[in-house]
């Protein structure tokens, strides 16, 4: 695949796709990369994959690289929302369409990409918030909440937090944030922070743990178990993502609600790319299908998990 006889990529309908991925920072992300790589291969397209290791500069460089290579279409999963104007403009000048995957860019750059396919983190936060507001609506003495945030400053962390509390406030839930710390999206830190929460605040009276992703949630569950409490019963738990391990924990009764964030949108992406290159009209935002699952649905959903 080195020299790529892909000069006339369009002849047989196969495309050369440049894919600037965020990194490989989580199982979710790896599943996402794999889904897209597999889908490209299945569709007979050549995928130039680039892992930016969560660094915007590297990602910009990768996009410039794709422009220099004159690929047919660029897929960008932007690590942050701002700062893309110039490089997107360069792609446009070179006549290469750009499709955003997963995360978005700031509204002012809307004209510079064709469409965005992905999840809405704020919406995920709102989904979690809606369940919490409903579940604890009758909690008279105020709902005591612990929050395990993702990496400080990252878009999913910010949006999942904002969406969640937006709904709680809107629903008028009487709640109190007992503590909220970053667990960096990792099980290691999720567990460590939870242990400290437990020694500092105890678990008695705490109603809800909201973890921004699976891994932190699973780490926290261990900490709770090791402290001699029963996760899911003594304290209700919401996680976002929905990996196999997360669902397994749900089946075991260790958590109560999962907001799905679906990484497996490779095939959907290929369809979008093909219509983009073919010049068809596409919507500015194509949402990835994502569900929410409560205790009654875990068992049934577990076999469908892909990561």
């Amino acid at each position: 695949s080195d020299d790529g006889g892909s000069e006339g990529g369009g002849d047989d309908g196969s495309l050369v796709i440049g894919f600037a991925q965020v990194g490989a920072e989580s199982a979710w992300r790896t599943a996402n990369s794999k889904s897209i790589q597999d889908a490209a291969e299945a569709a007979g397209h050549e995928l130039k994959f680039n892992d930016a290791q969560q660094d915007q500069e590297k990602q910009i460089e990768a996009v410039r690289g794709f422009i220099n290579q004159q690929v047919d279409v660029i897929v960008l999963a932007p690590v942050v929302e701002t700062g893309w104007t110039d490089v997107l403009q360069e792609a446009e000048d070179a006549g290469i369409p750009v499709v955003l995957a997963d995360r978005g860019v700031e509204a002012a750059d809307e004209d510079l990409y064709v469409t965005r396919l992905g999840s809405d983190f704020a919406e995920e936060g709102r989904k979690a918030g809606a369940w919490a507001a409903e579940t604890f609506a009758d909690d008279a003495d105020g709902t005591k909440i612990l929050e395990l945030q993702g990496t400080t400053g990252s878009a999913p962390a910010n949006d999942r937090k904002a969406g969640f509390f937006e709904v709680l406030d809107a629903e008028g839930l009487n709640y109190e944030i007992v503590d909220s710390q970053s667990g960096n999206f990792t099980a290691e830190e999720g567990k460590a922070v939870m242990e400290t929460f437990i020694t500092t605040h105890g678990l008695d009276g705490i109603d809800l743990l909201y973890a921004h992703n699976d891994e932190m949630g699973l780490g926290a569950i261990q900490a709770i178990e090791e402290a001699g409490k029963v996760p899911g019963t003594d304290i209700q738990i919401i996680i976002v993502d929905g990996s196999t391990a997360g669902f397994q924990a749900g089946v075991d009764g260790k958590l109560n609600y999962i907001v799905e964030c679906n990484p497996a949108f490779g095939p959907q992406l290929m369809e979008v790319l093909e219509s983009v290159v073919a010049g068809d009209e596409v919507e500015k935002f194509t949402p990835v299908e994502e569900g929410v699952f409560d205790a009654t649905q875990f068992e049934a959903e577990l076999p469908n998990r892909q990561f």
């Binding site: 199982a27 945030q149 400080t152 990792t186 400290t196 020694t199």
Partner: protein
């Protein structure tokens, strides 16, 4: 011994100060251990238990730094150790088989030791600067770990005895603390009961003079990196066992900086020479306590970095005699001096 105690004084004081802050913020429970399920717990014991992997790495790092080296790859090696063990265990049909656990641990340690030896060989035999030699594995190492796990996060069943490495206890004391204490003792004995410590300091202090004195400086250098790799691998095993999973990407991320920090807080100079294992241990506990302190005094996550900077700066300055002299200048009378050696005392030939 006196100079040694002096070295340790400032780190110990800082640690005590941090502990006091925590006690004020959360009560005396912070320091008093409690027993949960037959396992010693409580805030401070938890800190010690969680610090075990960092301590292991920092001990290895201390030896490397004593030879005027540095090992940036320990975080990646940590991830590799964790990945190998977890992947081997989940690939097996029975995750609880004692033989399997033993083999997985042995293979992980063997591989990480080989990686350490490789680093040492690059430094000693190819003459590559330690930062660069280990940078290579810092970059590639996590890739190797991901390759082993296929980019997934292998999760070991909670019932597997492997997890006891991180979660178990012996005589109510958590196993990671035992392991760290054991390694500490082993390294302390290895360096102080044999001549290894002195030879290390010699190689670090003046490699050419050491060579001319007949010391096998290359062999010693390789050995030291090997031990460092082994420690990092063991740390990875404990970390993975604690979680029951191995995260190739984030496991032990930036732990090399914390380890170096702990070594230096403990009084070992990055320029090689004298090293202080006990100092390193105190440095590790300071770092571990600091992270909890931020949560306990109610600061937000954004404060993590800033608070760390402030504490590290305080330790660094307090350890500097020049700084102490400068700050105390207004309060100090004339310096007291030791009695001069009278000329008559010189033995006649």
């Amino acid at each position: 011994m006196n100079a040694y105690a002096k070295r340790l004084m400032w780190p110990v004081l800082i640690l005590l100060a941090l502990i006091v802050v925590n006690i004020v913020a959360t009560g005396i429970d912070f320091i008093v251990p409690s027993v949960n399920d037959g396992r010693l717990g409580g805030a401070f014991v938890n800190i010690l238990r969680r610090s075990a992997p960092l301590l292991l790495i920092a001990l290895g790092m201390t030896l490397v730094i004593a030879t005027k080296g540095i090992d940036l790859s320990v975080g990646a090696v940590y991830a590799i150790g964790a990945a190998i063990a977890c992947q081997m265990i989940i690939d097996a049909p029975d995750q609880s088989a004692a033989g399997l656990i033993f083999t997985a641990v042995a293979v992980a340690l063997l591989v990480t030791a080989v990686i350490g030896a490789w680093n040492g060989t690059m430094v000693a035999y190819f003459g590559i600067q330690p930062i660069v030699a280990t940078l290579i594995l810092m970059i590639a190492g996590r890739g190797i770990a991901q390759l082993i796990t296929g980019g997934q996060i292998p999760k070991v069943e909670d019932s597997s005895p492997f997890t006891q490495l991180g979660r178990g206890e012996i005589l109510t004391i958590p196993l990671p603390i035992w392991i760290a204490a054991l390694v500490f003792t082993a390294i302390a004995l290895l360096t102080r009961k044999t001549a290894l410590g002195m030879l290390l300091e010699s190689v670090g202090g003046n490699p050419e003079a050491s060579r001319l004195a007949g010391i096998r400086s290359k062999g010693i250098t390789v050995l030291v990196y090997l031990v460092c790799g082994l420690c990092a691998g063991l740390a990875g095993l404990i970390g993975a066992a604690n979680l029951g999973s191995a995260d190739a990407n984030n496991g032990g991320l930036w732990i090399e900086l914390d380890a170096i920090l702990a070594v230096v807080i403990g009084g070992t100079a990055l320029l090689g020479g004298r090293f202080y294992l006990l100092g390193t241990t105190i440095g590790v506990v300071i770092i571990g306590t600091l992270e909890d302190t931020i949560i306990n005094v109610g600061l937000s996550s954004q404060w993590q970095f800033t608070a760390k900077a402030i504490v590290v700066f305080a330790v660094a300055l307090l350890q500097s005699p020049e700084f102490r002299g400068w700050i105390l200048k207004p309060f100090k009378p004339k310096p007291e001096v030791s009695a001069p050696a009278p000329a008559e005392e010189v033995p006649a030939k």
